[in-house]
């Protein structure tokens, strides 16, 4: 697998850039359409997918804006109406968004949110807060089930995540509330479970809905002094949402307790299922949608279709532009020689700008979304088309060029009747190369919210979800092969077979 740091970098890049599509102007007002947002961690992805499928089942068109980074980003998107609904946690809502320290009462929240045009709905049920976990056997052995009891144990090795150690609602508060005297070690959260498994520590911090608690045979101690703040999951919605839409979301209220959420998270983390699959399973198990064996597949296929169409659209428009500019400019360079040679240099320069940098540089000029993506792709397709056109024209048998002149053809007629048909094989070869480069580079367009097959790839890289990566990579590869075949057909139509043979038929 990838070293952690690189994977991390890709994750963050992907999420942030995908996120940024929020800022792009996007038309989502087609009929009954709804935009569901999610934060960039598994549980939130899964809940957003559940809501999305619920809406899709009710006939809505759903625009998924998943994986936004940071509470403020997604909250602002909700305020701006770019997201219609997402799942927030009461603790975060109170501290980060509302800067409110009172009790977590829905009505109080809604009073504060009203001015923003936002509404919080009934909690989904579970409380995803910090917790203290240890092996079930150890708990049984020591006979403890609450944190207070743990604080009495002297011979206990504690290992906590750095974050937990540093937060005031983490270790320091815990010490004050429960009077711990043990010295904990700091370690990476991911490593802590393994450390517990190996026996090098006995106790660590956890979230109440961690999907892998069961895997490691861990139980959570009761927070008997109610120290940990509450993080109940609740949907935040745009106040303008229709009653039907609210009712749909309200179907979820109280449906998922910690145990159930742990189990659902586990299906994703441990069983390697996709969010779409688990969401669909959940909705069926709860009887919220018709049992339909293909529903998750259907979502996948519809995503696939949409992504592929967008990808095709990006590529086709860019390639058409590339041809529309590259071919005439190539012809002009051929005709007027060194005068316009600098054009090739410029096209070459464009090619040296790394695609990410180019896309990034375009943002101040063209914003985010399809336009800059298409412009970038167009620039990349230009050079192969331009150059192959020029060379192909230059290498045409000069005797034939002279005859075309001698017959009294105008320059335009020479071009259309003789030069272009004779240059066609080599020009097509350049366009083919440009097309394949476009298909490849278009996957990067997802970074600036242009969609396409890069979307699952980018998300897949972010979540380290190979099946998601393949959902982008395989269709992209198929597109490439299809393009080859298409061009072969085009060649067969446009070019007489004897013009393109290794050996003449004898």
């Amino acid at each position: 697998m990838l070293p952690q740091s690189i994977r991390g970098g890709l994750v963050i890049l992907a999420l942030i850039l995908v996120t940024s599509s929020v800022f792009g102007a996007q038309e989502n007002d087609r009929g009954r359409s709804i935009t569901v947002g999610s934060k960039n961690f598994n549980e939130n992805y899964l809940l957003a997918e559940v809501i999305s499928q619920l809406f899709e089942d009710a006939g809505y068109a759903v625009d998924r804006k998943f994986g936004m980074s940071g509470t403020m980003v997604i909250y602002q998107a909700l305020r701006a109406g770019e997201v219609d609904v997402y799942v927030e946690y009461t603790g975060t809502l109170a501290q980060v968004i509302l800067n409110y320290s009172g009790e977590h009462l829905l009505d109080d929240f809604n009073r504060l949110l009203a001015a923003e045009g936002i509404e919080a709905l009934q909690s989904i049920g579970f409380n995803n807060s910090y917790a203290i976990s240890l092996k079930r056997e150890l708990a049984d052995e020591l006979g403890i089930s609450t944190i207070s009891e743990l604080a009495q144990q002297s011979d206990i090795e504690m290992g906590f995540s750095i974050e937990f150690l540093n937060r005031s609602d983490g270790w320091s508060g815990l010490v004050k509330t429960y009077g711990f005297s043990q010295q904990p070690t700091g370690m990476d959260h991911g490593l802590a479970y393994r450390a517990i498994d190996e026996g090098s520590i006995d106790v660590t911090d956890a979230y109440t809905t961690d999907g892998d608690l069961d895997l490691y045979g861990l139980i959570l101690l009761e927070d008997d002094l109610n120290f940990f703040p509450q993080y109940f999951a609740l949907p935040l919605i745009n106040s303008s949402l229709s009653p039907q839409a609210r009712n749909l979301i309200a179907e979820l209220s109280g449906r998922i307790d910690e145990q159930r959420m742990r189990e659902l998270n586990g299906r994703v983390m441990l069983d390697g299922k996709s969010f779409a699959e688990v969401a669909s399973e959940f909705l069926q198990e709860e009887g919220l949608v018709e049992r339909n064996a293909n529903s998750s597949n259907a979502t996948m296929w519809s995503n696939l279709r949409r992504n592929t169409l967008v990808h095709l659209q990006l590529t086709l428009i860019a390639l058409s532009l590339g041809c529309a500019v590259g071919l005439p400019v190539g012809i002009a360079v051929y005709r007027y020689g060194n005068l316009s040679r600098s054009i090739i240099y410029i096209a070459g320069l464009m090619q040296t700008i790394p695609s990410i940098a180019l896309l990034a540089l375009f943002i101040p000029l063209f914003g985010i979304g399809r336009t800059p993506a298409i412009i970038a792709l167009f620039l990349y397709s230009l050079l192969p088309i331009l150059r192959s056109t020029i060379t192909a024209l230059l290498t045409i048998d000069p005797a034939l060029k002279r005859i075309a002149e001698a017959l009294g053809m105008t320059r335009m007629q020479q071009l259309t009747q003789v030069l272009i048909p004779l240059a066609l094989p080599n020009v097509l070869s350049g366009i083919k190369t440009a097309a394949i480069i476009c298909i490849g580079t278009a996957t990067l367009a997802a970074f600036i919210g242009a969609g396409g097959l890069g979307e699952p790839i980018v998300t897949g890289l972010a979540l380290n979800d190979t099946s998601l990566i393949l959902q982008g990579a395989i269709p992209a590869a198929c597109l490439a092969i299809l393009t080859e075949l298409l061009f072969e057909m085009l060649e067969r139509v446009l070019i007489k077979p004897h013009m393109l043979v290794g050996q003449l038929p004898t």
Binding site: A399, L400, R402, I403, A404, E405, A406, L407, G408, M409, T410, Q413, Q417, V418, P421, L422, I495, K496, H498, M499, L504
Partner: protein, 244 residues
């Protein structure tokens, strides 16, 4: 000389250090057939290509039907000139039909006129109709040469420049076509300049003969004049060895 179809006024042409033509002045009369004969490499093809602007002389001017060839009028002028190139030079991507009718179609001739002219030419040059949809690579040398001739004649140009048009034909086919051309000359007046190495052909088809030698016009005159009074030993040898 009444009217001339091509008039070369003090034309010079050289490549690198080698001079091909120097200060040549020459009028080719209109409405008759003129044969240009002479040594290989003496500049016959060059002379023809000056008339349709493919070769531009370093000095001097060339006038076709009285108007001097310039960048501005060369394309228009070429439409009035049928040019059959030495070595056929057919477009490999076009069928025989398309090769021959290309210019007529570009000139937006009515399809019926194109068809009838096309079939007339095929018959004239003893070509099989089966060739129509084939591509040049599949034709024999003599067939390609005749297709090139058809292409040159398609637009019924008032001036025909034919560079060794029958060199790849067997005597029987060649004779048949000669007869047709003679009939044609009687039916319609047309200026024709014919480069050939076949002295018999020159005598049979042309009214005037120009002998090129060493970059100069060695002799110009009617067929009888040249046969009866060769201006030099070269002219005499040429016709003797040419079997006439």
């Amino acid at each position: 000389m009444s009217t001339s179809c091509i008039h070369y006024q003090n034309v010079s042409k050289s490549y690198a250090d080698k001079t091909i033509l120097e200060g040549l002045t020459l009028s080719i009369p209109a409405n008759i057939t003129t044969a240009i004969v002479g040594e290989s490499g003496s500049g016959k093809s060059t002379l023809l290509q000056m008339a349709n602007g493919l070769v531009i002389p370093e000095r001097g001017q060339v006038a076709v039907f009285g108007s001097t060839i310039s960048r501005a009028n060369v394309t228009r002028t070429r439409l009035t000139i049928g040019y059959s190139v030495q070595g056929a030079g057919l477009f490999p991507h076009l069928t025989i039909y398309d090769n021959i009718t290309l210019m007529a179609r570009l000139q937006k001739w009515p399809i019926d006129d194109i068809q009838s002219r096309y079939h007339y030419l095929l018959t004239l040059l003893e070509l099989d109709k089966d060739l129509s949809e084939r591509f040049p690579y599949s034709l024999s040398g003599g067939q390609q040469q005749r297709v090139s001739l058809c292409r040159a004649m398609m637009l019924k140009p008032p001036l025909l420049l034919l560079d060794e048009p029958f060199s790849a034909l067997d005597p029987v086919t060649r004779d048949t076509i000669h007869q047709e051309f003679l009939k044609l000359q009687q039916a319609e007046t047309r200026s024709m300049v014919l480069v050939t190495h076949d002295m018999g052909e020159a005598i049979k088809l042309a009214q005037q003969i120009i002998v090129l030698h060493d970059g100069k016009v060695e002799q110009q005159g009617s067929v009888a004049e040249i046969q009866d009074h060769p201006a030099s030993e070269y002219v005499e040898t040429l016709f003797r060895l040419g079997g006439q």
